[in-house]
C-alpha cells in the first residue's frame, strides 16, 4: 500500500521509500522518512495533488510522488 492509496482521514506510517527520484529525496528532506506518520486529509481540485498532515502540519504532494512511499495503515483514532 502506498501513500496515494490512503482513504480520507486514514493514517499510515512510512515503511519503505523508493529514493531514486530526486523529487522524492526533496520530500525526505521535508521529513517524509521511514517511521513518519501521515494522515491523508484531502485532495485539491481535480483530485491531485494530495494533502497530508505530518506532525500536525499540512504538506501537499502529487500522486506520482506519493506512490514512491510504501505505508502501513494505522487503525483510525490510533
Amino acid at each position: 500500500m502506498t501513500l496515494a492509496s490512503l482513504g480520507r482521514g486514514q493514517k499510515g506510517v512510512i515503511r519503505a521509500i523508493d529514493t531514486s527520484d530526486p523529487m522524492v529525496q526533496r520530500l525526505m528532506v521535508l521529513g517524509l522518512v521511514e517511521g513518519a506518520e501521515l494522515e491523508y486529509s484531502s485532495a485539491a481540485i481535480g483530485g491531485d495533488p494530495l494533502e497530508f498532515r505530518l506532525f500536525g502540519n499540512a504538506i501537499s504532494l502529487r500522486k506520482e510522488q506519493a506512490r514512491h512511499f510504501t505505508v502501513s495503515p494505522l487503525p483510525n483514532g490510533g
Partner: protein
Amino acid sequence: MAKPSVTRVSVDQITVSRRPSVSIAVVGNPNSGKSTLFNRLTGLRQRTANYPGATVEKHVGTATAGTAVLELIDLPGTFSLSAHSTEERIAVDVILGRMPGTNPPAGILAVVDMTNLYQGLYLVQQLMELELPMVVALTMSDAADVKGLRVDIDALQARLGGVTVCPVVATTGQGIKALRQALAELPGSPQPDLPAFWPELNKAAEQLSAELQGSVRRIEIERALLDSSGETEQEILGRLGKDRDERVGEVRRELFGDEPPLAREARYRYKWVREILDEVQQRAPPLITWGSRFIAWLNRPGPGTIGLFVVMAIVFQAVFAWATPMMDAIDAGTAALGSFLASQMPEGALASLLSDGIVAGVGSVIVFLPQIMILFLFIILLEDSGYLARAAYLMDRVMRSVGLSGQSIIPMISSFACAVPGIMATRVIPNRRDRIATMLAAPFMTCSARLPVYALLIAAFVPAESIGWMNLQGLVLFGLYLLGIFAGVLTALLLRVTALRGPKSPFALMLPEFRKPNLRTVLMQLWGRVKVFLRRAGTVIFAVAVIVWALAYYPRSDTVAWELAEQQAVAEASLRGGALSETLQQLDHQAAADQLAQSWLGRAGQVVEPVFRPLGWDWKISAAVIAGFPAREVVIAVLGTVYALGDAADEATLAQRLKSATWPDGAPVFTLPMVFGLLIFYACCLQCAATLAVIQRETNSWRWPVFAWFYMSTIGYVGALLVYQLGSG
C-alpha cells in the same frame, strides 16, 4: 559645601558609535514567522539591497540589545542547507560566509515555529554543525498553546548542547526582551557544546579538509559530500585534483552505502529529531473553537475554492464602491485647486503650467490612490493569511493542464498588484521553463497601473446600472480581469508547447495554516507600496506632466490669436446678450483647439494618427498612448493635461471632458466600440519599462523582454482594431 559628584566611567563602557559591530544571520523555515520577528527586533531601522548577481532582496536591519548594536540579516526561508531554489542558495551562501559583499555571520538566530518543531529542528541540527554561537527563537508559542502543544524548554536546551532557547510571540512582543538579552550575549559567547550528530561524516570531511591544507572548511566539505548536484559543491570538490571522482566516490560509498546522500542525511537527522520530540514535546488534544472549526472547513478544497472566488469578487466590488467617496473628494479638491490657481494669476504661460499642466496632470493620477490602496491591502492580506499558498495547492491540477504548476499561481496573483514583484516571485519555481512561461504570462494580469485607465473609461462610458447584486461597471472591470487571466494562461500554454517545451515540473509544498494577518506587518507593507506610488507621482509623472504641458502649449500661434480677436470684434459689433456670450465662448473653444492642434504635441500626434486611425483614435489619444509606453499610468496624466488645454476645458473633470470630445465633424470620439477597443489595448499591451527591465534581469537576456513587448503590443493592437471595426459596423 557639597562637592560636585563625579562618576568615572571606564573607556570601554562608553558607546561612541551606534554602528553595528557584528552581523547575525536570521535563519528559519519558510512561514516560521521569521520576518515578523525580524521586523519586531529591528523596527524601522532596515534597509533593502540586492545580492550581487541576483534580484533576491537582501534585508538588513539594526537591532539594539542592551549596549550592543547588532546587524541582523533576514535570510530567505529554507528547510535545509541543501539548496534547490535561487533564494535557498543565497541563504546557504550567506550562512557559510561565501556571499561577496555580506559580512560572514558571527552568530545565528535560528527561528523555529513551535508548532513545527519537526522540520525546524532538522535545520537547527544542520546549523549547529557550523559551530557558530547560536540562539533559538521559538515563535508562535501562542498558536502552540491553542494546538495543545507543550514544549519542555529546559530539556530542549539540554538536548541542543546548552544553546539558549527563547519562546516568543513576535506579533505581540511577548518574550522579545529575553531574546534581545540572549542576542546581546551572543557575540563572543562560547561555542555550544555540540552533541556529536554524525561523527563519521565529521571525520571524513576533516580528513579531506586536511588534504586540501585547510583551504576549505570542514562544514563546506560536508555540504559538498551530501549535495552531489549543486554547482558550488562541484567547485569545492574540484579542488581535490584529478583523482577527485574516485576519492569522493570512495568517501561517499563508505558514508552512505548505496543510498543517495540526501536520502541518507534525511533518515539520519530525522531519527535524532524524533528522539528529541519524544522527550521534549507533549501533545494534548487541540482546543476546538468555532474559529478553528471554520478554518478547518475553509481548508477543504470545495469551500477553499469558493472562498477564493468570493474574496476576488469582493475585491473588485470594493475597489469600485468603497473608493468612490474618497476619489470624489480628491477629484473635487484638484478641480478646485486648479481653478483657484487660474483665477489668482494673470492669464498666461505660468498659470497654464500650474493649473493645466501640474494640477491636472498629477491630480488625475493621485485620484487613484484610494483604489490602489484597497487593492494592495487585499493582496497583502491574502498573502499574509496563508491563502496564496493554499491557492497554489488547489490550482495545481488546473495549472498543469496549461503546462505550468501550482507554484505559478502566486506570482500571477501578486501581478494583480504589480507585475514587477510578481515576476520576482517566480524565483520559487525550480523549473526554468515553467519560470519563464510564468514571467511572460504575469504582465497580462491586470496590474494596479492599468486600474486607473480602466476606472476612468468605465466610469465615464459604462452606465452605472445594477445587474443582480453587482453593478454593470464592476462587471465590466471583472471581465477585463478575466481577459487578462485568459490571455496570460493562453500565452503560457502556447510557450510550453513551442519554445519552452519540456517535461512537467514536480510539485510539493508546505501549506501554512490560515492565520490572522498581523496588523503591524500589513500596515508596514501597505505603507511601502503607497510610498512607491506617491514617489512616482511626485517624480516621473510630475516630469511627464510638465513636459507634455510644454509640448501641448508651445509654440503659441499668433495667427490663431489674431483670428480670435478679429472674430470677437465682429461678434461684439453684431450680437447682443445671450447670443453674444454663447458665440464668444464658442470662439474661445475653437481657438484653444486650434492652438493645441498646431502645438508640437499636436503635430507629432497627427504624424502618428494614421497608425491608430483604424482603431478610432484621434491624435490626442494616439499621443497619450505613445507617451504611456514607459509607464502606462502616465496616459491619464497626458489626457488630463491635453484635455485641460483643449476645447473641453470647461468641464470640471477629466471623465466629463472625454465625453464631450468630438471629431472636427462633431461626432463623438469616445464611442462604445472605440472605448472597448482602447480597454483591450490596455489589457494586452506591455507599457511598462520596469517590467521589461525585471524580465531582462531575471532571465539574464534581452530576448524574452523584446519578445514579450512585440508579442503583447501586437495582440493589443489587433484586439483593439477588431473590436472597433466590428463594433462600428
